[in-house]
């Protein structure tokens, strides 16, 4: 039995995390993500979980990673400035293959920017923000319902692939209130345990090693240094470093079709919108207003790894129109994967595109 609620996006995010078994939250107050932390502060102690307000975002993500090594599903939530502070330890999580969920309720940047206004300016930062090569998974909700569902899925993906998983929300979805159908339970897929007696960083066929939880007798050494399959630092062996980093990237990239989550609407269309997060709502309005025109729409929920196959669903596409609340961060990624002309429709300032703006862009090119 599902129940109906009327929730704010950030509350739905926290509830989705709790439903997925999140039992550790380390965070630091920052607009417009704070409601996630506040709700976790209320709910976690009642579920034998831990809420801790750390001294900054660096400490928040550090505590989350520490908690994850004890086997707990762990999460933090932040926005632009805090996200920037987390970058070094996000790289540590990637290097040490620590499952964790990082919510970024995006606001206008750079710097302190627009704390109370929505944006999608951190889409490249979540992919490439820490130093060195690695890969991550990023999900983009476009409704309160998806704040719940994608947060819950983020924990499964983090455990399955042993990577940091980002819920790249924005202020608009985070602070929006709308109807949500709350299920009794969400699908759960826990991290696979390391088989005792095998090397802690020796991967299986899926390129992902089993997880040696702290306190279970594995005696594992975890380091951000380049390490061998025993987990021991081995930082000057070129071949070993190359093999390790390739695996950290490839374990996610080879799974992009399994990770991918998108909707293809009107696949025969010549004019196709591509959107993720809040701009999805404006495209939906346009499609609703112009239902007879059969406008194409690729609506993406997993932005990283980018689901490039989805572009091929539109065989007749003559133009991809990409409304984003940034200066075209994902439009450029789309250009990499297609010969179809890509038109970026950037918007800054905190307001959504209006349906009128999208209609004009559509008509201008026809």
């Amino acid at each position: 039995m599902t129940r109906t609620e009327f929730w704010q996006g950030n509350i739905a995010c926290a509830e989705g995390a709790l439903a997925a078994g999140c039992r550790f939250f380390g965070g630091y107050p920052i607009t417009p993500s704070t409601e996630v932390a506040e709700h976790m502060a209320v709910k976690l102690p009642k579920k034998n979980g831990v809420f801790i307000q750390m001294e900054d975002e660096i400490a928040s993500i550090a505590a989350v990673i520490g908690a994850s090594w004890t086997g707990a599903r762990a999460m933090t939530a932040t926005s632009g400035p805090g996200f920037s502070l987390m970058m070094e330890n996000i790289g540590y999580a990637a290097m040490t293959e620590t499952p964790c969920v990082i919510v970024n309720v995006q606001r206008g940047g750079p710097s302190t920017g627009q704390p109370t206004m929505g944006a999608q300016g951190d889409m490249m930062q979540c992919r490439f923000g820490s130093h060195g090569d690695y890969s991550i998974i990023a999900l983009c909700p476009a409704s309160v319902q998806e704040m719940y569902e994608l947060t819950a899925r983020a924990f499964n993906l983090a455990d399955q692939y042993r990577v940091p998983v980002f819920l790249m929300a924005d202020e608009i979805i985070g602070h929006m209130r709308e109807k949500i159908l709350v299920p009794d339970s969400v699908p759960l897929q826990q991290r696979k345990a390391l088989v005792k007696g095998t090397l802690p960083f020796k991967p299986g066929a899926d390129m992902i090693p089993g997880f040696p939880q702290f306190g279970k007798g594995y005696g594992v050494h975890v380091t951000g240094l380049t390490h061998d399959e025993r987990g021991y630092p081995c930082a000057t062996n070129p071949k070993l470093h190359e093999t390790l980093v390739h695996r950290l990237v490839d374990k996610v990239e080879i799974a992009r079709d399994q990770i991918a989550d998108y909707d293809v609407i009107n696949p025969d269309a010549e004019q196709v919108f591509i959107a993720y997060g809040a701009p999805v709502r404006t495209v939906q309005q346009l499609l609703h207003d112009r239902a007879d025109e059969k406008i194409g729409f690729l609506r993406i929920r997993t932005v990283w790894p980018f689901p490039e196959k989805s572009l091929r669903a539109f065989k007749n596409a003559k133009r991809f129109l990409v409304p984003e609340l940034n200066l075209g961060q994902i439009a450029r990624e789309i250009e990499r994967h297609t010969n179809v002309p890509v038109q970026s429709l950037p918007k800054l300032g905190g307001d959504l595109h209006t349906p009128q703006e999208l209609r004009e862009a559509l008509e201008a090119g026809q």
Binding site: A63, A74, N89, F214, V220, G224
Partner: protein, 262 residues
């Protein structure tokens, strides 16, 4: 079981220079653990970046060798998520007091139930001898080539002011006292801070007129002033020598604790 069984022998040889004081501190820590009769499976070592922080990798338990300055923040997550674990942090003066200073004072304030052993060599050893927040005034380093002009932190005083339940300072000369202090730190609920001054012949000693390793150890021995003696001097109104530092148990109290074993 001997503390020697706690070493990860397949990681030898270690990276520490000949004459380094860090090994002494690691030995004292493991000897204290042996007295506590802790189990390997229930013990986690966490460390940051620097020479001291490499210690966690030479011990056979679960261990988390983290990013520069953040060991205590990581350890907070480990301990809060599983209070049944014994959590010990190895750190150094640069890791703890410069880049990690904020995490240090906040962990003291929370009085989280972990033990932090700081190997204070008064220099950035791993990067080749730059000045640190504990480099004494006038001392030479590669970034204080005309003598350090900044005032150093007193790490133990910092821990006391910020609220740690147990604070002790000794040196690599005082092995028995240090071992006992670490054990008392383990036994004391809340945040325990043990500052161990150590010689760094490679990066500190050779620039500061300690020609032999033993010269610096002798210096630490000669310039440490026992807490009890210091208190007597203060009480009697006699002058306290300005070229000495206080060693001994500096705080032992019962403030409210976070993350203690259930």
């Amino acid at each position: 079981m001997s503390y020697e069984d706690w070493f990860r022998k397949d990681r030898l040889p270690h990276i520490f220079c000949a004459g380094c004081g860090n090994g002494t501190i690691i030995n004292c820590t493991l000897a204290a653990i042996e007295q506590m009769d802790w189990k390997k499976d229930d013990t986690v070592f966490v460390s940051g970046i620097g020479c001291s922080s490499r210690a966690s990798g030479y011990i056979i338990t679960d261990s988390l060798h983290t990013t520069h300055g953040r060991a205590i923040a990581f350890a907070t997550g480990v301990k809060m998520a599983n209070p049944n674990l014994n959590v010990v942090v190895f750190t150094g003066d640069g890791d703890l007091a410069a880049i990690g200073g904020n995490h240090f004072i906040h962990a003291c304030r929370r009085n989280i139930d972990i033990t932090v052993v700081c190997m204070n060599n008064q220099i950035y050893g791993m990067t080749g001898g730059q000045g640190s927040p504990t480099t004494p005034k006038g001392c030479l380093s590669s970034t204080t080539p005309y003598g350090c002009v900044e005032s150093p932190f007193d790490l133990s005083e910092l821990a006391i002011a910020a609220g740690a339940n147990y604070v002790s300072r000794w040196t690599s000369y005082h092995v028995k006292e240090l071992e006992k202090a670490i054990k008392t730190g383990f036994e004391t609920p809340g945040f325990s801070f043990i500052e161990a001054l150590v010689q760094c012949p490679t990066a500190f000693g050779r620039r500061n007129k300690f020609k032999q390793v033993s010269d610096q150890i002798e210096y630490m021995k000669a310039h440490s002033l026992l807490k009890a003696k210091y208190d007597r001097l203060v009480e009697s109104g006699e002058p306290v020598p300005t070229d000495m530092f206080i060693v001994g148990e500096l705080a032992h109290r019962k403030r409210p604790v976070m993350g203690a074993k259930p």
